[in-house]
């Protein structure tokens, strides 16, 4: 069951909203509806948020994203459509039931923090529990734990006015976390912060999310933030959701020109990962292989180097053409004992930005390894540049799942691919 499910959501302000919804459903344009005095803010929005997911709603100001969020917890009444939170149909609840649902199932973080200036940091963090009727000692203990999570426990007795912006928002986050609800609604939570602090808060949120596994609906106008945080992103424009997808789906196949315009500003190197651009791993050359034979294969395939591995699929080092040639000249019988270069290992989840330095140097290919250190694939330099430049990937190079790497192709073929990676 999805944590949040919205279907056919409309919010229309102004005159005769129900009428406006009917006309929009019949295909009337927004301009037509506006003429009759109604202002549609959200038009026919529908999506599901899975438990444990960070679902980002991205849009410029006036796109209806904050209105949409406020319909998810009933701060704004829907004009049409249904919202379900877990098994409860929020849009059908009366006021007391809605309050109970908010107390027990959802909490919210606000753009301008919305801390109560007359309460201490601790009492702010304990607010949700206080509303729920939790006794003083318990709620203070829980609030203290939440403050510790965001690293502010030593500020518990201060007033919010004495904190900096970033710290205030940490208190806002602690207040939401102390409530210990499954669903967290974040309304432009980091938009009012300095860029550096914003980065810090994003990191902290991801870190907390990794251990807490909340369902988060996050509103932002910053696509980079959306790409950084979101498991999936919904892009809104003029009240409509124009595209829903994972960050790389959106980067790869933008739904329309509007989305494409946005993407121009995205730092692709942070969205795309090694796993996204890697190609199947070449077979590893055993240390016992004869140098002359290896050199011949390298020449045939125009590869600059080979990966030398143990029997378990782990890379022990990289033999460059020069090294192998020297070994042949010296009459060595195997690759063992040659001065191998250390492999450059990254994980499939490593963002491209973090492997640029490794990819830039010439001799050693960037190898992608799995959790056990086994080779999963290599990152061709050309693919990195193509991904950063927004060039669509050719169909011949589908993204490689980790599982596929198990089936290691024969040596000759993969040497060819490696060469493409290294020289191309």
């Amino acid at each position: 069951m999805p944590a949040v499910h919205a279907e056919g959501l409309f919010k229309v302000f102004g005159r005769r909203p129900a009428d406006a919804v009917r006309r929009l459903q019949d295909g009337a344009s927004v301009a037509d509806v506006r003429e009759s005095g109604a202002t549609p803010a959200v038009i026919d929005a529908g999506f599901s948020v899975e438990p444990g997911e960070i679902f980002v709603v991205m849009g410029l100001s006036g796109s209806g994203k904050s209105t949409l969020l406020r319909m998810l917890n009933g701060l704004l009444e829907t004009t049409a459509g249904t919202v379900r939170v877990g098994d409860a149909e929020l849009t059908a609840l009366d006021a007391p039931a809605l309050r109970r649902l908010r107390q027990e199932r959802m909490s919210m973080v606000f753009q301008h923090f919305a801390l109560f200036p007359h309460r201490s940091v601790l009492d702010n963090a304990a607010y949700a529990l206080e509303v729920r009727g939790v006794d003083r000692a318990t709620r203070r203990a829980k609030a203290r734990e939440a403050l510790a999570l965001v690293g502010l426990d030593q500020w518990a007795d201060q007033k919010p006015g004495q904190l900096s912006g970033g710290m205030k928002q940490r208190v806002g986050l602690a207040r939401a976390l102390a409530a210990d609800t499954d669903l967290l609604l974040m309304d432009e939570a980091f938009s009012a912060l300095d860029p550096l602090i914003r980065r810090e808060m994003q990191d902290q949120l991801l870190e907390l999310q990794a251990s807490l596994g909340k369902t988060i609906v996050f509103i932002t106008h910053d696509l980079n933030e959306a790409m950084r945080l979101g498991d999936r992103i919904a892009i809104m424009r003029d009240g409509r959701i124009v595209q829903i997808g994972t960050p790389d789906q959106i980067l790869e196949t933008p739904a329309d020109d509007y989305v494409r315009q946005f993407l121009a500003d995205v730092d692709r190197g942070r969205v795309f990962t090694a796993g996204h651009v890697m190609v199947p791993a070449p077979a590893l050359v055993a240390p016992t292989a004869a140098p002359a034979q290896v050199l011949q294969t390298m020449r045939d395939t125009r590869a600059g180097s080979v990966l030398v591995g143990d029997g378990d699929g782990r890379v022990v080092g990289v033999a460059t053409e020069d090294v192998v040639r020297t070994a042949v000249a010296a009459g060595a019988s195997s690759l063992a004992g040659l001065p191998l270069l250390p492999a450059v290992d990254v994980r499939a989840t490593t963002p491209l930005n973090d492997l640029l330095a490794a990819a830039a140097q010439d001799e050693v290919p960037v190898t992608v390894v799995d959790d056990d250190g086994r080779l999963a694939g290599v990152v061709p330099r050309g693919a990195v540049l193509a991904a950063l430049g927004g060039v669509p990937r050719p169909a011949a190079q589908p993204p490689v799942a980790l599982a596929e790497a198990e089936a290691v192709p024969p040596a000759d073929e993969t040497a060819l691919i490696t060469s493409g990676g290294i020289r191309g």
Binding site: S107, A114, F116, A128, V131
Partner: protein
């Protein structure tokens, strides 16, 4: 000119005055028990409070009031209050001053008890606000002396009429500033309350009222100041106290008595103004007593001025005794 006389020929005379007379007669006849009850209660309230204020020796009470000022605001203010209050005693104005003080305290308590709930209702509902605002305008701008007539009609000559007029006259700033204070509370804070599932009543008590308190207290301060100015005019309907002395000095053209009574009003006014404005801002302990007007007090005073400014402008027309600011 010829045109205007034509107009008056065309338009019928509307007997507003007669309607009002009829309405008042009707109210007097039908609500006599209610009016009597109000009369008895507020009369007893003022008399009782006056007696209580006059019970201790004048000098002791003056010292206590000065001490209160010293604790709540500053030592300097305490000393100045003591000098002023002792002057009241030496001018032999203590008894009328205490009568006036009792009258304004009773009127203020009632005005605040009515004004704050109405202000809250007006802040919550724009419709209530739209109804209340013109009524408040009417109450504030109607020449004060006109209130004397209905008050006397209902309650006769005496202190009760004084209290009722004073309440009507002093009520508006209490309502207006309560509404303003609550509306000024950051909408995101109220939204946060709702988002965590807090019921509206709890948001009002836990968020809106505490944050609006400085503004509400500025309103209470204004209520007291307006009550004081009206208490003098109430002298015309026999409310006694300093107002009575002012009326007497006017009828006898007794400049000396007039100045003495006027000076007593000024002393009372300044004392009450400073005391109540200190209430609004210094609820966290008594910083002024310890710091003798250090930074905390200075900034608090500065902010109180900016809050007061529009109100002062609005009420200047009401000839209120203007304490030096």
């Amino acid at each position: 000119m010829a045109e205007s006389s034509d107009d008056s020929g065309l338009l019928p005379r509307i007997p507003v005055g007669e309607w009002v007379d009829t309405a008042f007669d009707w109210v007097t006849e039908n609500f006599e028990p209610v009016l009597d009850a109000i009369s008895t209660a507020s009369g007893a309230g003022v008399d009782g409070l006056t007696d209580a204020l006059l019970l201790p020796p004048a000098i002791l009470l003056a010292a206590l009031l000065a001490l209160l000022g010293g604790v709540l605001r500053s030592v300097r203010f305490g000393i100045a209050s003591l000098v002023g209050l002792l002057l009241l005693i030496s001018m032999e104005m203590w008894e009328p001053a205490m009568q006036t003080l009792a009258l304004i305290l009773v009127a203020t308590v009632i005005a605040v008890a009515i004004g704050i709930p109405v202000g809250i209702a007006a802040a919550k509902s724009s419709r209530v606000s739209a109804v209340v605002r013109p009524v408040l305008d009417f109450m504030q701008t109607m020449p004060a002396l006109v209130y004397l007539i209905p008050a006397v009609t209902f309650f006769g000559i005496g202190v009760v009429s004084g209290v009722v007029m004073t309440i009507i006259f002093a009520l508006p700033p209490g309502v207006r500033l309560t509404e303003l204070g609550i509306r000024q509370v950051d909408g995101e804070l109220v939204e946060a309350g709702h988002a965590f599932g807090s019921p509206p009543g709890k948001i009002l008590r836990g968020v809106q009222l505490p944050l609006a308190l400085p503004t509400i207290m500025a309103g209470v301060n204004q209520v007291i100041m307006l009550a004081l100015s009206m208490a003098v005019i109430a002298g015309f309907v026999g409310a006694g106290g300093l107002g009575g002395l002012v009326v007497t000095s006017l009828s006898r053209l007794d400049l000396g008595l007039g100045v003495e009574a006027g000076l007593a009003v000024v002393i009372l006014a300044i004392y009450l103004d400073r005391l109540t404005s200190a209430f609004g801002q210094q609820r966290r302990g008594f910083p002024s007593f310890l710091s003798r007007g250090g930074t905390v007090t200075t900034t608090a005073a500065a902010s109180s001025r900016s809050v007061d400014a529009p109100v002062t402008g609005a009420t200047d027309q009401n000839a209120r005794p203007e304490p030096a600011r």
